[in-house]
Every structure is written in C-alpha cells, then in structure tokens.
C-alpha cells in the first residue's frame, strides 16, 4: 500500500518535472534583451553575430525579422523587436584600410571609436565627429547620425565618404554621395531600417593640441558669449557647456569649456598618449547623492563646477578630449533607470527657451540630474535631420522608475517639454525612449512620412524592424 503511494508520487512528480523543464527550456530559447534605457526588455528569438558577410547574407534571407545592434545605447528599442533576430555587429569590427596621407579610414561597422583612436593616434590623426564618449560602434553612430563636442565639422554624416550596405534582398551595394546616392541620406540616421551597414569610410582630421578655456556665467549671457567668443573665434574647435540643475541655481548658472587650439602645437607629442578611464568612485558617489536629494544636487554642481573651472589652461589633445569617461554613469538599480532626452533649440532662441523650460520643470516632477549643452551646425543632409538651423543641443539625464506608472508620469512631462521646444523652432533627438507623440514626431521631423514610405519601398517585406518602427512607422 505504502509502496503504491510512493510510486504514484514519483510518477506524478516525474511528469511535473518533465513539463516544467520542457517549458523552461522553451523560455530559455528566446533571449530577453534590453537597451541602455532599460525600459523595454524584449524577448528576441536569437542573437546572431559573425564577421563573415556570407553569414550575414544567409541570415537575412532566412530570418523573418531582423534588428541590428551595436552597443545598444539607444533607448527606444531601436535595436529590438519581439521574437526577431538580433544581429549583434560588435564582432564585425576590423579596420580594413587606413590611409594616413589621404586622412581616410575604412572600418567594419562593429568597430568602436576607441578602436579607431588607437589605430590613428600614432599617426597624429583624429576623428572629425563622434559622441563625447568613445564606447560606441561606428555602425550604431551612423544609424543615429550622431554629433558631439566638435563645432566645426557638422554632424557625423558630413564626415562619411561612403559605406557598403547589405540590403534586405541580400545584395551588397556601395553607397556614397555619388553612387547609389538615394540611400545615403536615408541610411545615415536611418535607425537600421534600410539594411546592415557593413563597412564605412570616414574622413579624418588632424590631431591637435587644445588648451582648456573655462568660464562660468549667467544663462542670459551665454548666447552672446557663444556668438562672440566661440563661433567667431576660429581657434575654438570644440565646446561643451553645463547648465545647473542644482536647486540653488536651477537653469540659471552655466559653466563652459572651450577647447582652444594651443599655440604650442609642437608639444602635441608630449600629450598624445591616449588616456584611460579615470577613477570613477568619487563622481559616481556624487552623482548617486544627487539622485536622491536636492542637497546632493547642490554639492554635485558645486564640486563639478570647481573641478572643471580649475582645468582652465590645461592642455589636452583632440583625441583625448574625445575619450570622455562614461563608467561613472553606469547605474544598476532594479527598479529605476536613467534615461536621456535631447532637445535642439535654435541658437538665438536659447535665453527665452531656458526661461520656458524652467517654467515647465518647476511645475512638473522630473528628476533631472544633469544638463549638458553642445552646438551643432545647420545641416539637413540626412532625411531625419535634427539641425534645421544652427542649434544648441541640450542633453538631459533623467532618473525615473521602470514601472508603467513611472513611464506614464515621465511621458506627460516630456511631451509638454517637447511641445514647448517645438514652439521655439526646436526639435528633439530620436534615439531615446518613445515618449513623444506621433504629432510631435511629425512636427519635429517633417520628412518622417517620406522616410517611412522609403523604408517600405526599399524593404517591402519589412525584414528590418525595431520597436521605433513598430511604434511610429506602421
């Protein structure tokens, strides 16, 4: 009798165990992936990565839906699609050709800016346009058409000579301003919807020695300062400003760093060793404090300002300026995340824009930790171009919860902010979370319908998909 019960128990248990393991292994087959925004964990069918073009071609023909990924620092699911195949391009990262004389380099799209810097630094060359950090892949950066601290070379698109594109039908084509030129302005800033960027030929600049020039001022003086001391002075090559989010000086105080061509260019060699990531504990601690308290924000602002102001007169090479620290911003909290927003505002609207921004943020609850300001020149080469004018680009770092309610709360504030930005003739940047409404997208990017129409024309089977397309393009 007892034995019968034990056997029955073991039998039932075995059935249950088998079912559980079966379901578990099915679940494990899909992979949950998320991008740097951490708001869109997405189950992908499989992650594929290769350095061979035939492999990539084969997958494009076999797989139904493909999302292309580099470092996945976009935050709106631009590299994700439920049950799609994630093409991880990070291992497709060789430097194919480098011609120091012509100042050209050809790299595979998974190469990072850091890879390029290491290659070209010994030759006294430097990248023309990239983000402030060097951790990103070239392919990813092209797909969002990035800009950075440089104020003389425009957006990334202006520095691209040509690239090869693997299309939805498996064909590989050369794309430049003269060859298959129809693709050029769509693929750059195209968020991976037109094909896989294989290799890219970029123009390079000369590495130069810069001297820091720092200043702090009231926001009302910034427009004039920038016009007179920065824009007009050809010696200023790069520029970065920070706007206070500390309660004591909220959106009023600005301090700036200009990177001015140093007179002593002969000393470049002395400074040209590439710097590595510095100690992150202290800035990390301070950023941590500023997440949770007004007091922390004041301390962070004052210390940061003091630190940056003291760097006045310091020498640094262009390559090293383009290797900014990023590790201290890494944030591991299971319930909260840090998202970015970037707003473009015409240079001459700056003062009135900041006044309006202050009004919006004073009324609403949004934990803004940091605002940096960069300059980007008028450039409408890309179909989805953000620089409809000479613009200041304000990047906001926002701490928010990951729950549905938190997302809705942030969305409400951000939509208000974008409406206000659009009223000033401004625009917003697309790689971030899909907070903006469809109407806001249309207003900020008047060619968006043309963009999606072209996407469907060039990729009729919708092979390349991502959550950005899913949200706005359908």
């Amino acid at each position: 009798m007892k034995l019968k019960w034990i056997v029955t128990g073991i039998f039932l248990y075995s059935v249950a165990l088998y079912s559980s393991v079966f379901v578990y292994s099915l679940q494990q087959k899909t992979e949950v992936v998320e991008d740097a925004g951490k708001l869109l964990p997405t189950k992908m069918k499989v992650i594929r990565s290769s350095h061979s073009i035939p492999d990539l071609q084969k997958w494009i023909q076999e797989e139904e839906t493909i999302s292309i990924a580099g470092m996945q620092h976009s935050q709106g699911g631009h590299t994700l699609y439920p049950n799609g195949t994630l093409l991880d391009m990070k291992s497709y990262n060789k430097i194919l050709d480098f011609d120091p004389g012509k100042r050209k380099i050809t790299v595979q799209s998974g190469a990072t800016w850091a890879d390029i810097q290491e290659k070209i630094n010994p030759f006294g060359l430097s990248i023309k346009v990239m983000q402030s950090q060097n951790i990103f892949t070239v392919g990813g950066s092209l797909s969002v058409n990035v800009h950075g601290r440089d104020i003389r070379y425009g957006s990334l698109i202006d520095t691209v000579d040509s690239f090869r594109l693997l299309k939805a039908d498996g064909e590989v084509i050369n794309v430049s301003r003269t060859e298959n030129s129809g693709y050029f302005s769509y693929v750059i800033g195209g968020y991976g919807l037109f094909g896989v960027i294989l290799d890219v030929t970029l123009q390079l600049a000369e590495d130069e020695l810069y001297q820091y020039r720092t200043a702090s001022m009231d926001y009302q003086e910034y427009e004039t300062y920038f016009a007179e001391k920065v824009k007009k002075d050809k010696k200023v090559k790069m520029h970065l400003a920070r706007l206070s989010v500390a309660p004591g000086t909220f959106l009023k105080e600005i301090y700036i760093t200009d990177y001015v061509l140093a007179r002593e260019q002969g000393r470049l060699k002395k400074y040209s060793i590439l710097k590595e990531e510095e100690l992150v504990a202290l800035p990390k601690l301070m950023l941590g404090m500023s997440r949770y308290s007004e007091w922390g924000k004041n301390v962070f602002w004052d210390t940061q300002k003091k630190f940056f102001m003291e760097s006045n007169g310091k020498y640094e090479t262009r390559n090293n300026v383009m290797r900014s620290d990023s590790e201290f911003m890494e944030y591991e909290n299971p319930n909260r995340t840090e998202v970015l927003q970037e707003y473009f505002v015409p240079v001459d609207e700056f003062t009135s824009y900041i006044d309006d921004l202050r009004k919006v943020l004073a009324r609403e609850e949004l934990n803004v930790l940091n605002i940096t300001i960069r300059y980007v020149e008028h450039d409408e080469d890309a179909v989805l171009s953000y620089a409809k004018d000479d613009m200041f680009a304000l990047v906001l770092l926002i701490n928010q919860g990951r729950s549905k309610q938190d997302i809705q709360k942030t969305e409400k504030v951000i939509r208000k902010t974008i409406d206000m930005t659009l009223k000033h003739g401004g625009s917003y940047y697309l790689p971030y979370y899909s907070y903006p409404s469809d109407q806001q997208l249309k207003n900020a990017y008047p060619r968006i319908e043309e963009f999606f129409k072209k996407k469907r024309e060039l990729d009729p089977e919708n092979r390349f998909k991502n959550l950005f397309y899913e949200r706005y393009g359908k």
Partner: protein
C-alpha cells in the same frame, strides 16, 4: 517515523529551502517592477501563513503530523517546479499564497512534531540538537550554492531544491506512520 528520519528529512528540507530562497527573492524582485509589488507578494505569503497556522494546528491534532509533512514536502517539490517558469506577477502572487499555506504547515508541524516527540526530560537538549543538525545543513547549502551558481543556471537550482523536497517526501512516506505521531507514553509501572 522515528527521530532519525524526522531530523534527516527536516535537514533535507532546510537544505532545499536554503538553496532556493536567496534566488527566489531575486526572482520576486525581477518579476515585480516596483517595491509595492514586492511588498504585496511578500505580504500575501505572510498573511496566508497567518490564517493557516490555526487550521494546520488543529489538523495536526486530528490526523497527525506525518500526513501534513507529506503534503508539505510534495507541495514544495511541486512549487519549485513552477518557480523557474513563472513569468507574470499574477502567477507569482498565486504562488506566494500557496507557499504561505505550505509554509504554515511546515512551521506548525515542525513544532508539533517536536513537542510530541521530545516530551519528558532533556527536552531542551533534544530540541537544541535538532536545530543544530538542521541548521548546519542549511548553512552548508547556502555556502555551497554561492559557489554552485557560477556553474548552474538559476533554473537548475530550483530543480535541485525540488528534487531534495521529493527525496524528503519519499523518506517520510517510507517511514512507518505510528512511531512519531501516536507515540504513547509508557504506562507507568508500579
């Protein structure tokens, strides 16, 4: 069920729960996306536990500890099979309620069994010994799991725990039913 079986099976239980518990906590946190959901999940567990303690206590007086321990061990073996595959907060809440009931069974029955078995002299010593052995196993399991996790997936840790619960269940089923539960005091001889 004699004392030895009881201690061995309880040690096995302790080992199983020590393996699963830290990762179970992680899992609750990951499935729920806010502390309020975490709190609710835990509250449900505690509340159902509270409500079931008196019921379990009465039940153990009526049907004895052994059947309840069998229910608990099989129940937990089953639960540990569900844990690796849950995906929604709702299922997690359901699981927490079920675990609350089972937790009440284990907590109450552990004590009733101890009380019934260790009456008479040196009760303290016996209970001390009992806790010593079960806790040693728990401690070993926690430490070992810390190393194991580098080699095993979280899912397989839950399966391992489930397996241990099952062994414990069979062990209790195999034991004879009379000894522990209906242990009569020896008639006093004059």
């Amino acid at each position: 069920m004699n004392n030895r079986t009881f201690i061995t099976s309880q040690s096995l239980l302790m080992t199983a729960s020590s393996i699963a518990f830290p990762f179970y906590l992680l899992l609750i946190r990951n499935i729920g996306d806010s502390y309020s959901q975490f709190g609710l999940a835990y509250g449900l567990f505690a509340l159902t536990g509270a409500l079931f303690h008196p019921v379990v206590g009465r039940l153990s007086d009526r049907i004895g500890d052994r059947p309840l321990l069998i229910v608990y061990t099989w129940g937990m073996a089953g639960m540990m099979l569900v844990v690796p595959i849950i995906e929604t907060v709702f299922v997690l809440y359901m699981l927490q309620i079920a675990m609350g009931v089972l937790g009440a069974v284990q907590k109450t029955v552990e004590k009733t069994a101890l009380a019934r078995q260790y009456t008479g002299t040196q009760t303290g010593k016996k209970i001390g010994n009992y806790h010593f052995w079960t806790n040693v196993w728990g401690a070993i399991a926690v430490i070992a799991t810390g190393y194991l996790i580098d080699f095993l997936t979280i899912g397989s840790l839950f399966y391992l725990a489930s397996f241990l619960y099952m062994i414990s269940a069979i062990m209790i089923m195999k034991s004879t039913s009379s000894k522990l539960t209906f242990q009569k005091e020896k008639p006093v001889q004059y």
